[in-house]
């Protein structure tokens, strides 16, 4: 276990499936050098096949006794899909509009299909996924080369490309299939939680660009952080498929709202909900009942009294309310390692457990003593 753990919370009630996070990640990291097919961040429709196809059935993770389970390495054409492009340039010459490779599969092949019968009781919600930066990573346990490590300072799980020899056991070992093989460099690569950005005071690209403001980022041991409050104080944010035993550090606020069902005559069935609780139980475990109850209770409390810290956090009035990146801590770590800590390029989210006074001022607010990550 690392000394500290950086974590992300995603509020599924607010995700609109716009894929801005997907694109932010892709343009930042995976549109080149053999990473083209990878989506370190993807947003899939649930229920659905997901990305890669049927990832939940591909093995990996640990059994109840704590032993790594064998897994399957997905196929590029069948399970991930080869990215294709169109012959835009040739169109001017009168050519017909054609993809450059025959599309076989891709992320979101089944976007918005969901389950149930339209229009009576069809339903779906969006499930954004990145690497879970697990406390007990399946990929790390599977690696016979010790090429995967968990950073001591923030628990980010990384591949040491110098040690990696491209054996791909990590892909079989990760139950979330969030580590990928790069055929061009013959090594495994994965989400790095944008650590070079985080160290510079910037949230991960997927979180910064999120238009629905669903993503909170902070340290789990920082009691002032939004992630601490959502995960530990209110217990409304839960790990995805915790039954895989990897102790994921990306948490989800389960969807609490779903439309009512229609009867055979197209009339509303009062107090009905389209989203079966069993689906949420499968994803987030039995704790999901308590989480939904807390969310509903707090919503009610807010309606009645106008007060609820939890609702304030989830509404996220300011984007800066969503991140506590503890830049001072990273600077300290850099100094301890004999590196030259660079000044943060963005101080809006620099506050954190180890950030002392003096780091509160920032140029975006004209130096009005704004405390980053605090309330307004």
């Amino acid at each position: 276990m690392s000394k500290r753990q950086l974590a992300m919370v995603m509020d599924l009630n607010k995700c609109i499936g716009c894929q801005t996070c997907t694109v932010a990640c892709k343009t930042q990291w995976t549109n080149r050098n053999g990473r083209e097919y990878m989506y370190w961040n993807n947003v899939e429709t649930y229920p659905g096949t997901g990305y890669p196809k049927n990832w939940m059935e591909l093995g990996g993770g640990f059994d109840a006794a704590g032993d790594l389970q064998p897994g399957v390495i997905p196929n590029l054409e069948a399970d991930y899909g080869v990215p294709w492009d169109y012959n835009y340039d040739a169109l001017q010459g009168g050519a017909s509009f054609e993809p450059n490779v025959e599309p076989t599969w891709g992320p979101n092949w089944d976007e918005d299909e969901g389950a149930g019968a339209f229009p009576q009781d069809n339903y779906f919600f969006y499930l954004p996924r990145i690497c879970n930066h697990c406390t007990n990573p399946g990929c790390l346990s599977a690696c016979p080369r010790d090429a995967i490590f968990k950073r001591e300072q923030d628990g980010v799980v990384l591949v040491d490309l110098d040690r990696c020899q491209g054996y791909r056991y990590c892909i079989a070992g990760c139950p979330y299939k969030k580590i990928y093989f790069n055929p061009k460099i013959s090594k495994s690569e994965k989400c790095i939680l944008c650590f070079p950005r985080v160290e510079q005071g910037l949230p991960p690209a997927c979180a910064q660009q999120c238009v629905g403001r669903i993503r909170f980022v902070g340290f789990l041991d920082d009691e002032e952080s939004q992630v601490y409050k959502l995960v530990h104080k209110y217990k409304v944010a839960l790990g995805l498929r915790s039954d895989y035993g990897t102790q994921p550090n990306v948490y989800y606020v389960p969807p609490t709202e779903s439309p009512v069902k229609f009867d055979a005559d197209g009339k509303i069935i009062p107090d009905s909900g389209r989203l079966p609780i069993e689906e949420l139980e499968k994803l987030f475990g039995p704790e999901v009942h308590g989480a939904i109850k807390t969310l509903k209770d707090e919503m009610k409390k807010r309606k009645e009294t106008g007060e609820s810290e939890l609702m304030d956090i989830l509404i996220a009035y300011q984007h800066s309310d969503m991140f506590r990146l503890d830049n001072n801590y990273y600077q300290q770590v850099a100094r301890e390692n004999g590196q030259n800590p660079l000044a943060p390029v963005d101080t809006r989210y620099a506050a954190g457990k180890y950030t002392k006074a003096g780091h509160e001022m920032n140029f975006f607010h004209g130096g009005h003593g704004h405390t980053a990550g605090g309330h307004h």
Binding site: N33, G60, D67, S141, K184, S186
Partner: protein
């Protein structure tokens, strides 16, 4: 009919040309061995010896598909020859492989065929050679690997950042774009030759500081592979100036999803450098067949609880508790087996990831040293130990 005759003639030629001895002879030559490849004439001088390689079944990995394919893997054979001159030693390895598997830059489920040769850093004590699977704590080995591979583009560290972008994101088109792609291709390495130092699977570290001067080639010829390795007799890692040196060979079959520990390997095999004298003790150890009674040994293994933790024979249930032994006779020397019985912590099979199987602790870490969960059987009668060693030497898959 003519074809049949030809086949028969070829078969008999191979039968006579390849010695069935377990000792490889390195023939002394005056030729330059600095950079020899498999199609060089110099190999006409080599005496080919057949060696048997057994599937690695000590450690099991977590690739479901690969495990299914290799469940009943049989042993394979290869021919090996060696030459040496005043400063270099060179090896040629030939093995049959009906499918040519190489990795490509656009496919994620392909694994390359290839071979590796392993040398012990210190072979002065034949009773304590490094563990066959990439050495062991305090007993390092150097491994030279050669795989046929498609261009692998490793941009890191070369300062060619401008070529690390997607061509679609450049403002280049037409001829400029073609030139850009050409440059990117030229930056790729087609040769997957690697050299490693290791004290166990997981410690394997590539030699990247330029101190390694080995040269390995590989090519698909007919229905199989021919690979060569030439290396200095003495470098920073090993000194091979001896009458006998222990060498181990590993072969990967990409068609069976082979990579890393999913491989075939020989035990430490003696290479006799023609014209040099000495190393009798090492030669004896490498070729020793225990004089114990294997049938009695099987009984003793049962009585002493070996089967409680180890899979002994192919038909026994797999057991995560201890290293699988169903091919141990194929790649362990009698001396290694004796040592492991009496002092299990001397070599704790590396590669086993404790984190992956936390409920089967093969070993515990005490002061940073791996201490085996297996008790030492040093209290057994010498004859029992010998019988068990003889039994273990019989445990190996048959040749395909």
């Amino acid at each position: 009919m003519k074809k049949l005759v030809n086949t028969l003639v070829t078969a008999s030629v191979i039968a006579t040309a390849v010695a069935a001895s377990s000792v490889i002879t390195a023939v002394k030559v005056n030729a330059n061995l600095d950079k020899v490849s498999y199609n060089y004439d110099v190999w006409e001088n080599a005496k080919m010896t057949e060696v048997t390689l057994y599937p690695q079944t000590t450690i099991k990995f977590n690739d479901k598909e690969a495990n299914n394919i290799n469940q009943d893997a049989k042993a394979i054979t290869a021919e090996i020859g060696a030459l040496y001159n005043g400063s270099k030693i060179a090896f040629i390895v030939k093995w049959a492989d009906g499918t040519k598997n190489i990795t490509t830059g656009n496919c994620i489920d392909r694994y390359a065929d290839g071979f590796a040769m392993q040398f012990a850093s210190d072979a002065s004590n034949p009773k304590q050679l490094p563990y066959i699977g990439m050495g062991s704590d305090g007993r390092p080995v150097v491994v030279h690997l050669q795989k046929e591979a498609f261009g692998t583009y490793e941009p890191n560290g070369y300062g060619n950042v401008a070529h690390q972008v997607n061509p679609n994101q450049t403002d280049l088109f037409g001829k400029d774009l073609a030139n850009f792609n050409k440059k990117v291709k030229a930056l790729a390495t087609n040769d997957y030759e690697r050299s490693f130092v290791a004290e166990g699977f997981r410690s394997t570290t590539e030699i990247k500081d330029g101190s390694n001067t080995s040269y390995a080639r590989i090519g698909y010829v007919g229905k199989g592979w021919e690979g060569t390795l030439s290396r200095p007799l003495k470098d920073a890692y090993v000194d091979l100036n001896a009458a006998v040196i222990p060498v181990a060979l590993a072969i990967w079959d990409g068609g069976k999803l082979g990579r890393n520990g999913l491989k075939y390997l020989t035990g430490w095999t003696a290479v006799k450098l023609e014209g040099k004298t000495g190393s009798e003790e090492l030669l004896a150890s490498l070729t020793e067949k225990s004089k114990g009674d294997a049938a009695k040994g099987k009984e003793a293994a049962m009585n002493n609880g070996c089967t409680g933790c180890h899979q002994m024979e192919a038909q026994d249930a797999e057991n995560l508790m201890g290293p699988g032994l169903k091919n141990i006779g194929g790649y362990a020397t009698a001396d290694y087996l004796r040592e492991s019985l009496v002092a299990p912590s001397a070599v704790v099979v590396p590669g086993y990831n404790r984190n992956a199987h936390s409920s089967f602790p093969w070993y515990n870490l005490e002061d940073g040293k791996r201490v085996s969960t297996m008790p030492g059987f040093d209290y057994l009668e010498q004859s029992d130990i010998e019988d068990i060693v003889a039994y273990l030497q019989t445990l190996k898959a048959e040749v395909k």
